[in-house]
Symmetry: C2
């Protein structure tokens, strides 16, 4: 065929890593590679009850087309929960429902980005955010990031040096891939800078409610006085991914535009799924369910950190996340994590090499571990194999 | 805010019509404006049974993330049904599941279109296809179209005159908005031309199974020897829209690219919804269900056509669709359908003015009527009011 594709298809390539990781789906592989929530914790029985109720009481409405912005009772509940947990002041009118928070990222790219536009992000950052935004042709600048979040002085320098920046993308809570959380002070300093320079910020917060210790920190959105912060989140980690329900929370002016681009993109998100989550919150104790998740994930995090401490050789560093699903490992500079992955796969253990999380590439000695989707026994066994593989190459 | 949006946002504007039509959602309005299937025919009871079964038997899998291409048993069934009904020769490997067929259109734009690229379409064409593709900045050329489909001589002239055409978008079966169907001969002539010039064709076929009389005609895809035809369809009209399940069927080389763009767009479509439709087909008689829909819609079409014949003044022309949901009316040239809509709304009857279905605008004396979502009594009453309004302006 002589068919030509859009230019963007040159940058959107099937990831080599993804191909390698396909083999991690084999039963015998202990895979820390995915980002899946634990399916044994899905509220299957509760959803069955809710599902029957929705079809009996509102079947026709639940199975019909619906409004692009989403089911109002759910948007109201999301607003209430955000205000309570993340200290925002939003209403249903500030919310549009999306097909998972991945769609929120895609719509953000569509809304803001022209080819060549500049996007700032943490270094490293969420790999699927990179691919969502990349489809719109931007250039990425990675802002140096430490344990407290983006380094404000570095961010200031970049802003001063660039004529125009279109978008800043950040994950302040239990970041994917590092598991790091921005400190309160860093959040304040960041927002002080942002209010001055009028750049839209996407605050991606899929993990914020999965906090293992201490209090949830106020979101960037809660400190937003100029309406520049666009908050995105999802029920995929707190309820289940299979219903594909996420959202964008932003100023009404932005929401109107998100609704417009979503309309052309997929008309609407399943109203039945939205009704189910909304009814679930009416009938069951969602907060108690989240506490249950937190308890299990906390234990898994503990086990993983403990085993890493026990078994990792000197020179290997790893984060200690206070929540979320991921932990980040830094190897001595001369070890390439892609080579390590090949070694590990021979012993049926897997992870995601860190390189894909740097939009401009070039960092080869890091990798991401997921602890939410594996039993404690298997985590111990997997980390032992991983440590052994690292020791083998460090000798 | 000094925030700047992407350039595309200048062309993606909230439609004025959509604002007007919001008032048609009032109970007392007889609205022929929507494109909704009849909710009283949704298989609510059956879905309840299936829903319980899926959650009981495969709950954890149904609520987890899933593959981007979609649930294999459903893709197999779609392939088998397409081959049987539309004479194609596809397998599950030729299918990717999408969030309704609207997402298939969005992904097509993403895959093929750069700013300024040329898209050919029927004149008029489906309005939401225009907005899906418009987001990627193409120019549209409307190909003159008669009762048999695109006029091949005109299409040839356009192809000869243009350096490069990126995509052709057509709806050969019961077109939205006109209700027209391409003849077999026209399909053959079209495909003969297409095979020579290697341009990808999107054959959008959401209504093909809703045929009221005669046999289903072979799809363009069934005549495709060069792999240029991309077939898109949906369960929204044959099952229900609320599950948001559509699909793309195309050569494996294309499917691979669709999967790639879908991954960045929303990761995956709800596997639970896919499992439900698949199980529904295992347990219930889907073809019998479609026959039931066809019988109801045929009757509604009959009633509408009959009432139009009885009441419309001389000089008003309308189509007689052999299937689908829509019928198209052409007024004498001096009557603007947007003015007529304002008159009609005073009498609580509504339709969609035709102008929005012409990507380059400029045709003001047409409108679209939907007959699938209203009882026969109301159709009669609505058409009478409509005819009276037209008579009032024709005097």
């Amino acid at each position: 065929m002589a068919v030509t594709f859009a230019k963007r298809m040159k940058t959107l390539r099937a990831s080599e890593i993804r191909e390698i990781l396909k083999i991690t789906q084999r039963e015998e592989v202990l895979s820390f590679a995915g980002g899946l929530p634990a399916p044994e914790l899905f509220p299957v029985e509760e959803l069955k009850e809710i599902s029957i109720r929705i079809l009996e009481q509102m079947g026709r409405e639940a199975l019909q087309y619906s409004t692009t912005e989403g089911y109002k009772p759910l948007r109201e509940k999301i607003a209430e929960r955000m205000n309570r947990k993340f200290k925002t002041s939003v209403t249903a009118d500030n919310i549009v429902i999306t097909c998972g928070s991945q769609q929120a990222l895609d719509l953000s790219g569509k809304l803001f980005l022209d080819e060549g536009d500049l996007v700032l992000c943490e270094s490293p950052t969420y790999l699927a955010a990179i691919s969502a935004l990349k489809a719109y042709g931007p250039r990425f600048i990675e802002v140096p990031t430490d344990d407290q979040g983006m380094i404000i002085e570095e961010l200031e320098k970049i802003i001063a040096a660039q004529k125009s920046i279109k978008l800043i993308y950040v994950i302040p809570d239990f970041q994917n891939p590092t598991g790091k959380t921005w400190s309160l002070e860093r959040r304040r300093d960041f927002m002080k800078l942002i209010q001055q320079c009028d750049i839209p910020v996407i605050e991606d917060n899929p993990y914020g409610e999965l906090r293992f210790e201490n209090e949830i920190l106020p979101s960037l959105k809660s400190m937003d006085r100029s309406g520049n912060v666009i908050f995105t989140s999802t029920f995929s980690k707190t309820f289940c991914p299979g219903l594909r329900i996420g959202w964008v929370a932003a100023d009404a002016e932005f929401i109107e535009k998100y609704v417009l681009v979503k309309q052309g993109t997929d008309l609407c998100t399943s109203i039945r799924s939205q009704m189910e989550i909304s009814a679930y919150m009416d009938v069951f104790d969602f907060e108690a369910h989240i506490e249950k998740l937190v308890a299990v994930y906390r234990k898994r995090r503990d086990v993983m950190v403990e085993e890493l401490r026990k078994t990792m050789p000197q020179g290997v560093r790893f984060t200690h996340p206070q929540g979320g699903l991921f932990l980040w490992v830094e190897l001595p500079e001369h070890i390439k994590s892609i080579d390590l992955l090949h070694d590990c796969l021979k012993n049926n253990v897997a992870f995601v090499p860190g390189d894909s999380f740097f939009p401009n590439g070039g960092v080869e000695n890091t990798f991401r571990l997921n602890y939410s989707n594996m039993s404690e026994e298997k985590i111990i066994e997997g980390i032992q194999r991983l440590s052994q593989a690292i020791k083998n190459v460090m000798i």
